[in-house]
Every structure is written in structure tokens, then in C-alpha cells.
């Protein structure tokens, strides 16, 4: 008993006195678990070139929302726990509005045109830029090349074509036509937006007016509902799928088409994947006469207002978003680059023959509404879209209600 007391008190006391030799400038940021070790390598390269700067990447959990909470908590406490902010594209307006980020216009002006336009657009809030994009991400349609080729089908450009092919080739429940992310989470909004845009609709127009509740909006929601209940090419369980669930279904060969992010490519081409060499990527289909758009995801670096080492941060951000560093990150960790030039890089093209296609898709990808209250808007959308998928609400009613709620949020 006494031993326990002594040991415990000693350990607590020692934790009080642990010191930190502070000679170098130290900057930190919160990232993800860094599979592949790309970040670690780039960081150590940077530290070799800049021996007076120590960069620490704190590895956070996989869940984006949890990492967001960690950033928010430190900002709320006014703490410089993280000097740089490795952020999702949708955090930018929210953090910028709160004044937690410093604008980067001072040194990030000319370089912008080297980067993908959608990623830049999503990093700007009220005319100032707060984030340098590092990783790009956009929704794409994966399909089973082999199944289509066997029947002589071309990859679908329109939704009608996709439906036709699916109905012809599918064999539910062993082989479905089309799966997407239909669970009530951010992914659902990404999927919905792609369909909405492909029908010619949008949430806000160029002037910022709410145009969600339009005939195109209704058509889009109706279409999603019909996929499950009328055309029957999508399983009912889609309302519980996130990215991983759809990947497994596609990878196990249980669906012809799958909408997902670029990350899935590498995994489907691994040695033991049942669909290795049978996979193709194309744009998200559109309605006849309209255009295809993908929802833009992606990550980048901002600088916290509370950081005491802002110049060191600038140096590091410039470094990690450079051509060489992005290339390394791609080769080691599969990160989709944001610099346009990298999509013509020989080495990268050799590994990823689908990259030219991906590049075109990324060029036309659109970010989600860049609005500080986006989180609330998104949550409202999620609920109502999900209810429509479940058949609990008709598309028109859902949009009417959603519109009312979003208007309320915008007024605040």
C-alpha cells in the first residue's frame, strides 16, 4: 500500500519537473496518423535544411471531426498548442471568421496559379486567403472495366446510361449496380452536391442567394431516392455506408459502379484485391444536357493567430507545398497533389495511369459552399437528404423544410 503511494507521488512529482531544453524554434501542427510515413520524411528533410527549426507533427485520430474538436479546443483556450493548422477545406471559413487564422496574402500571391483552382477557391474567405492547399480530393466514379467491356458497354457519361448498364448487368444482392456514401454524415452532402450539380442545380447562386429549393433540387433528390426504390440498382443499406463500406463492396466485386474518393484506387490495385486490373475511373455522370462536377475535398496548411513563430511556419509551409515535397508525399503516402505540374510528372504518371483523367476531374471540381455557417447548413442538409433516402419525406417537402431552416441560420 505504502509503496503505491510513494511510487504514485514520485511519478506525479516527476511529471511536474520534466523540463524542455528550448534552443531551437519549435513549431507544431496536428495531422492525421500519416500512413506511409510521407510527412515524417518531408519533415526530416526540412529540418536538415533548416537546422534551427524543429517541426513536430502530432498524429491525431483518423476521424476528421475529432481533430477539428482538438483544434477548436486549443483555439478557444487561446493556446498556441498548434502553430500551424492542417485543415480540411470546409474548416477555412469557420476558423477564419473566428479570427483564428492569419491571412497569407502577403507571401502567397503569384504562386496560386500553380495550384488547382478549386482548392484555391476553397481556401479564400472574404477575399483573403487563409490556407495553402497540400492535398486535393474529389469524388470520382469507379467502375468495373471488365464487366462493361464484356458486354460492349462504354463507360457512362449520363445517369441514364449508368442506370441502363446497371439494370442490364446487375444481379442483386450478389452484384449491385451502384453504391455511394449514403449515411448521415458529411460524405452524404458531398454525394448529394455532385448529383445536384449534375442536374444543373446548386445551393447558392453566384450572388449568394439560396437557390436550393428549385426544380433541379427536387429532381436530384428524387433521383437519389429512385436509385434505391425505383431503378433498384442501389441497396437499401446504402443509408449506412461511409467510404470504407463502399470500398469493401466494390473491392469484393459486389457492385459495378462505386462513387468514392481517389484513395480507393491504390487499395483496389493491391496484390490480393479481387478486382485488381479490372478498375476504371471516370467523372461523375450528369443528366442529359448538363455537366459533371465533383465535390472537392482536400487539406492544406494555415497559420494560427496564436503562434509565436509565424515566420518559421511560413518557411515550412512553403517547403512542404513545393513541387519536390508534394511529389515525395505522393510517392510515399499516396497523397493527391495540388500543384498542377505534378500531374504531368513522369514518375507519377507511371505509377498512376489514371492520373490524367483524375486531373481533368480535379480541374472541374467544386468546393462546398464557402460559408462560416457551413457546418450548420451541412447538418440541416444531411438530415433531410437522409430522410428522403429513407422514404420518410418527399423531396419537395424536405427541400421546403430545409430551406426554412437554412434561411434561419443565414439570418443569425
Amino acid at each position: 500500500m505504502y509503496k503505491l503511494i510513494i511510487i504514485t507521488s514520485l511519478m506525479i512529482a516527476s511529471s511536474y519537473f520534466s523540463c524542455y531544453p528550448q534552443e531551437k524554434t519549435k513549431i507544431t501542427f496536428l495531422g492525421w496518423p500519416d500512413p506511409g510515413g510521407g510527412f515524417e520524411e518531408v519533415i526530416s528533410d526540412f529540418e536538415k535544411e533548416n537546422p534551427d527549426i524543429d517541426v513536430e507533427m502530432i498524429k491525431g485520430p483518423t476521424s476528421t471531426d475529432t481533430r477539428e474538436t482538438m483544434y477548436v479546443t486549443s483555439f478557444l483556450a487561446g493556446e498556441a498548442t498548434y502553430d500551424m493548422v492542417f485543415m480540411d477545406i470546409i474548416w477555412v471559413p469557420k476558423f477564419a471568421k473566428q479570427g483564428w487564422l492569419i491571412p497569407l496574402d502577403g507571401w502567397f500571391k503569384e504562386e496560386r496559379k500553380e495550384f488547382l483552382p478549386g482548392d484555391i477557391q476553397g481556401s479564400i474567405y472574404q477575399g483573403k486567403i487563409y490556407r495553402v492547399p497540400l492535398q486535393s480530393d474529389a469524388g470520382v466514379l469507379y467502375y468495373r472495366k471488365d464487366l462493361l467491356e464484356k458486354e460492349g458497354f462504354m463507360p457512362p457519361q449520363t445517369w441514364d446510361e449508368l442506370i441502363k448498364i446497371s439494370q442490364k448487368l446487375q444481379n442483386p444482392p450478389h452484384l449491385w449496380g451502384f453504391v455511394f456514401q449514403g449515411k448521415q454524415y458529411e460524405g452524404l452532402v458531398c454525394n448529394f452536391l455532385e448529383i445536384l450539380w449534375s442536374f444543373g442545380g446548386d445551393i447558392f447562386d453566384k450572388k449568394g442567394n439560396l437557390i436550393l429549393n428549385s426544380p433541379q433540387g427536387v429532381q436530384a433528390l428524387e433521383f437519389m431516392y429512385k436509385l434505391i426504390h425505383t431503378y433498384k440498382i442501389t441497396p437499401e443499406g446504402v443509408t449506412t455506408y461511409e467510404e470504407e463500406e463502399t470500398r469493401h463492396i466494390f473491392q469484393e466485386g459486389r457492385t459495378i459502379f462505386c462513387r468514392n474518393w481517389p484513395y480507393m484506387w491504390k487499395l483496389t490495385q493491391e496484390e490480393n484485391s479481387p478486382v485488381k486490373d479490372k478498375v476504371g475511373i471516370i467523372r461523375i455522370p450528369h443528366k442529359e444536357g448538363k455537366n459533371s462536377f465533383s465535390t472537392l475535398g482536400g487539406w492544406g496548411f494555415g497559420i494560427s493567430k496564436f503562434s509565436k513563430n509565424k515566420s518559421a511556419c511560413i518557411k515550412f509551409i512553403k517547403y512542404i507545398t513545393s513541387y519536390q515535397a508534394q511529389k515525395k508525399l505522393h510517392l510515399k503516402s499516396g497523397i493527391v497533389p495540388t500543384r498542377k505540374a505534378l500531374f504531368s510528372d513522369e514518375e507519377i504518371l507511371k505509377l498512376n495511369p489514371h492520373y490524367p483523367d483524375l486531373y481533368q476531374i480535379l480541374l472541374s471540381a467544386k468546393p462546398r459552399p464557402v460559408h462560416p455557417e457551413y457546418a450548420q447548413i451541412s447538418d440541416i442538409l444531411k438530415r433531410f437528404i437522409h430522410k428522403v433516402l429513407l422514404g420518410e419525406l418527399s423531396p419537395k417537402t424536405a427541400l421546403d423544410k430545409a430551406e426554412l431552416k437554412i434561411k434561419k441560420v443565414l439570418k443569425e
Binding site: 449515411k183 454524415y185 437499401e236 443499406g237 449506412t240 469493401h248 447538418d379 430522410k387
Partner: protein, 288 residues
């Protein structure tokens, strides 16, 4: 007992460290929330937030979900906990092992087990569907987490599985504190098993049942981890409890004062429950 000054001092000394800790770690944040709920951007706005709260559809729906969740899961836990405690009370071969197994669900990390449950309830690869299909209880795989009623069932199942051991432990301690002489005495008077249970066991267990009831209810009112992982409040917000809405309001919408308002409301709600429980169930004898 003589109420000497020394005794007072001694008593105060005993509770002093706890007092300080509670004041610092528990009271200060609560007071801060109370103040925040009456302000908006550092300006005093009176009860405007509370009025907004009562008009908030999403809040009303989350309140309903929370209450329904408590109403179903808590009595279930109490009942099962009592049954298990009674059984564990008996002396039988491998009792030690059985006791340890029964404590297990409570010991596992909530968030991690919720991820496991999510996988168990998966419509394609989940064990739950698999077993039900094999036993021919259902004909087709069900989307457990995709339909509102089924999802609600899932969160209750996960909660009851995790939290019943808590009740079992408390009731077991209670059962073991009942002096055996009481049973002997009443058997002499010719009471049968059921009467023994009704006249001795149940009344003497009352304080422990009360403790279990109060703590389980309060924890159920504040449930967060498991639902957040398992359903995220879906589908369609049908499993969203108050705490999840608070989380979104504070950390995603950054509406701190409104969040505080919700918190104060749930605090008052919990107080009401505790008050009701004590009024109708509290035994004067055991009150301290």
C-alpha cells in the same frame, strides 16, 4: 454523538480536499456555463436563449430521444442487473469466472466497443445479421443502423450490454450486506422463498437500487460516446440525444452561449429526476 468543536473541525478537515477539488474542477465550469447561457457575444440578453430553445425543433426531438432512451434502457438494466446479481450470489462451481465475465462489458472502452458494435450491426458483413439469418429468424439482411427504429434498438442494446454490469456490481454488494441471520429468523417463522425475497431482500436492497437507478438515469441522460460512434445521431436524427446536439452546437457551430443554455436545461432535467427518485424511493433511514 456529542457535537464538539473538535468534531466539527475534524469533519471539515476530512472533506476539505474533496471540497477544493470539486469547487475547482466542477463548480467553476458550471458557473461559467450558467453565465454564458444568459449572454450572447458578451452581452446580457436575458432569457432569449431559453425561448429559442423551446422553439427549436431539433432540440425537442433530441429531448424526446434522450427520454425514450432512458425510459427503455434503465429499467431493463435494473431488472437484468438484479437477476444477474441474484444468480451471482449463489455459490456454484466457476462462480469466480462467471463474475469476472459479467463485469467485462463495463470494463471495455466505450468508444472502441461502439466501433465493434457498428461492425456487428453492419448489414453486409455483420455478425448480427449472419446469426439471425442462420437461425432463420429473418429472411434477408436488415439494415440495422440504417432504419430509425432498428437503429434505436441497436443503441439500446449496446448501452444495456455495457451498463448492466454496473448495476450488477452495486446490487451484488447490496445483497452481500444483508445479514444472513435475518433470513434464518424469518424462515423459522415459516416464510417461503418468494416471501423472503419480498420482505427482506427487496427492502434492504432499496438504497442500492436507488443508487443504481439514479446513477444509471443520469448517465443515460448524458449518453454520448457510444451513440456518436454507432449512429452519429442518425438515421435522420432519430437517435440523436441532447449531448450530441450540444457537441455540434459548441464545437461545430461555435455557438457557445446557446450550447450553455442547452446544458443548463439538461442539468435542471437531471435535478428533477433525482428529486423525484428521492421523494418516492428515498428511505429516511439511509439518508445521510
Amino acid at each position: 454523538m456529542p457535537k464538539s468543536f473538535d468534531e466539527q473541525k475534524f469533519g471539515l478537515l476530512l472533506i476539505l480536499p474533496s471540497f477544493i477539488l470539486l469547487g475547482l474542477v466542477a463548480l467553476y465550469p458550471i458557473l461559467r456555463n450558467l453565465i454564458l447561457s444568459f449572454t450572447e457575444n458578451d452581452q446580457f440578453i436575458g432569457i432569449k436563449n431559453f425561448i429559442l430553445l423551446f422553439q427549436d425543433e431539433r432540440f425537442k426531438s433530441s429531448l424526446f430521444n434522450t427520454l425514450l432512451f432512458c425510459l427503455i434502457s434503465v429499467p431493463l438494466q435494473l431488472f437484468l442487473g438484479l437477476v444477474f446479481a441474484l444468480i451471482l450470489q449463489q455459490r456454484f462451481f466457476t462462480r469466480g469466472f462467471v463474475r469476472t465475465s459479467v463485469f467485462l462489458p463495463w470494463a471495455l472502452p466505450t468508444a472502441v466497443m461502439a466501433v465493434a458494435w457498428k461492425w456487428i450491426f453492419n448489414d453486409t458483413y455483420g455478425v448480427f445479421n449472419d446469426i439471425l439469418l442462420r437461425l432463420q429468424i429473418i429472411k434477408e439482411p436488415l439494415a440495422w443502423l440504417g432504419k430509425p427504429d432498428l437503429a434505436f434498438f441497436c443503441i439500446i442494446l449496446a448501452e444495456v450490454w455495457k451498463c448492466t454490469p454496473f448495476v450488477t456490481v452495486i446490487l451484488l454488494a447490496g445483497l452481500q450486506s444483508i445479514p444472513p441471520e435475518l433470513y434464518e429468523a424469518i424462515s423459522v417463522d415459516g416464510a417461503n422463498t418468494l416471501q423472503r425475497f419480498r420482505l427482506i431482500t427487496l427492502p434492504l436492497l432499496r438504497p442500492f437500487l436507488l443508487v443504481a437507478l439514479v446513477f444509471r438515469t443520469i448517465q443515460a441522460l448524458g449518453v454520448f460516446d457510444s451513440i456518436w460512434v454507432l449512429t452519429g445521431g442518425g438515421p435522420g436524427g432519430s437517435t440523436e440525444p441532447i449531448s450530441l446536439y450540444v457537441y455540434d452546437t459548441v464545437f461545430r457551430y461555435l455557438k457557445f452561449s446557446y450550447g450553455s443554455t442547452m446544458v443548463i436545461f439538461s442539468f435542471i432535467l437531471s435535478l428533477i429526476f433525482v428529486f423525484i427518485f428521492y421523494k418516492f424511493w428515498g428511505d429516511r433511514q439511509i439518508e445521510y
